[in-house]
Amino acid sequence: MESDAVFRALTRRPRFDVPRGPRGRRQSCRGPMVKQGLGYVLVVAALVGAPAPLAAQVDFTGQWAPVYHEDNPERIPGPELGDYTGLPINDAARLQADSWDADRISVVSAYQCRPHSSDYGMRGLGNLRVWADLDANQQLLAFRTYMPAWGSERTIWMDGRPHPPEYAEHTFQGFSTGAWDGNMLTVTTTHLKTNYFRRNGVPSSDRRTVTEHWTKHGDVLTVVTVVADPVFLTEPLVRSQNWLLDPGQALPPFTCEYAPEVPGAQTVPNHLPGANPYLTEFADWYGLSLEAARGGAETMYPEYRQRMGAPHAAPPDRCQRYCVCAGFGCDVNPPRPAPAARPAPVAAPPARPR
């Protein structure tokens, strides 16, 4: 009976018929009403204090500025053609990547304004805003993210819902659920559209599954991205990227217009197998062996250095491309020495009459 009494007390709907004065104003709560109000507060408090498995362990919300201290030339100006280094890809991926012609973006409207998928987006142009959706019980329902690059908005469900069946719609952001492991948030994403592992044509399939591990250390956010793709990878691709908390950051909307940049084009720009003349440039510019530039899981482990082979061509004496890259200041040309003498200044033109 005692437990029944507790149950009734906890579940009874409190009465809030606050006595009103002669002019309809609420009177102050005193006497018996105090106890009833206190009972309501205590019920709420008991619920608040109870274990909350859905509550956030770490607050990832806020404005995050990306840190491009890894692979800056690939992520900001964009990857070189034929650079597949560090990717555990198979021959099917190489075949598709070798056919890539960047003119495709100018000709095929489907490639214009094509969003980055949620896995590539975290590696690419990643200014990031994270916010949380709470339900009526103040429990974490979902994290949401927005990246201005291609206006990518994403939901990471935290309420324990299952992933939809395989035949459900695939999207660029996919379907994501999250779970806590101490202070680490682990996110699983399925139902992705085909996209790319590197935006020089290295493809990713719509059968891939992405696992992410989010950690926050002070003002540093680190997200490890693990992609398993049975179509194009021989082992999972594991990369990690970092952001700095930037409360002053304001993210703009993303606008993209489709425009036929090559009027009258009748074909999809491509290179037929074995006919791409640009695939050796990358290895030559940076003094690498051609085999290494083609990627593959075996090239990602320390012992590969022993059998890497000689550079495809004699390497240049010093860096010639993208030598000084920090943030968005990444110049393809090497810094030039200052001229010995400045040319005579050119006289300023007269002001235009108004």
Partner: protein
């Protein structure tokens, strides 16, 4: 039941709820007592042999980059002057082949690492590349007055949850503390000998401080990994923190351990 009895009952339920919530989240509800040794208190097991998997910065890590290539590093002009003056023959002649194997850079090199407990309060990290040894000392204070070294002096702790600078003033029934289940290893390293962030002479100075966070994760296919987020601060050569994160996969044994000496080239 009287109103008073009901109120007392609810108060008990409330207190019970708060205490359960607190104890479920760790330290606030933990019974008082002497702290456990760091080895016994480890929230994750980082021991074993791990291999760096080079899926990022491949052409700056798997090969010695071309002279003058400092891409991605937030260098000050003073740093570029050093980059452009890099001469591996000079380093060899001076016996400085290990300049790119110091604590700020060693975990960016292709390497295997072996992690073990030297004692209950010291975690040892060895690399086969360059045969370097780092000691992460829990509870250690300022570095002893010794000469700076490639691996410096490292102080470790299991990362603590975010804390206010003073007592928490919020009402427990309205706000509980979250983020209390830390599982990361935090290491701060100072007393470093000047060296290179990359093998082609991208410099760091003796004023450098390195903060690292080691996070363990297990993947759906059963693979075990740790990712170390490395924050290098150097007021002499960097115009801000240099932040990278490096991924290591656990190996079943040490059969691929292959010690090699430092190389300046």
């Amino acid at each position: 039941m009287s109103a008073g009895a009901r109120t007392r009952l609810l108060l008990a339920a409330c207190v019970l709820g708060v205490s359960i919530g607190a104890s479920a989240q760790g330290p606030p509800g933990a019974p008082p007592g002497p702290p456990r040794p760091p080895r016994a208190a480890a929230p994750v097991d980082l021991t074993g042999t791990w291999v760096s998997v080079i899926s990022e910065d491949w052409r700056w890590r798997m090969v010695t980059p071309l002279k003058g290539d400092a891409a991605s590093v937030p260098l000050r002009p003073e740093g570029f002057a050093v980059v452009n003056a890099w001469d591996p023959a000079k380093d060899e002649a001076a016996g400085l082949q290990c300049k790119a194997y110091g604590a700020p850079a060693i975990l960016r090199l292709p390497t295997r690492v072996r992690i073990s407990w030297q004692d209950d309060a010291t975690l040892k990290l060895e690399t086969d590349t360059g045969t370097q040894t780092r000691l992460f000392r829990f509870g250690a204070e300022a570095p002893p007055k010794t000469a700076p070294s490639w691996q410096g002096h490292s102080v470790a702790q299991w990362e603590r949850p975010p804390q206010l600078p003073g007592p928490v003033n919020s009402i427990p029934i309205f706000a509980t503390r979250t983020g209390t289940r830390g599982r990361s290893l935090e290491v701060t390293t100072t007393n470093l000998r000047a060296g290179y962030l990359r093998k082609n002479g991208v410099p760091y100075s003796e004023k450098t401080t390195v903060t690292e966070y080691f996070d363990y994760h297990k993947e759906p296919n059963g693979d075990e990994w740790f990712t170390v987020t490395t924050v290098v601060r150097d007021p002499q050569y960097l115009n801000g923190p240099f932040i990278t994160s490096s991924d290591f996969k656990k190996e079943p044994d040490g059969s691929r351990w292959n010690p090699t000496p430092c190389s300046a080239r």
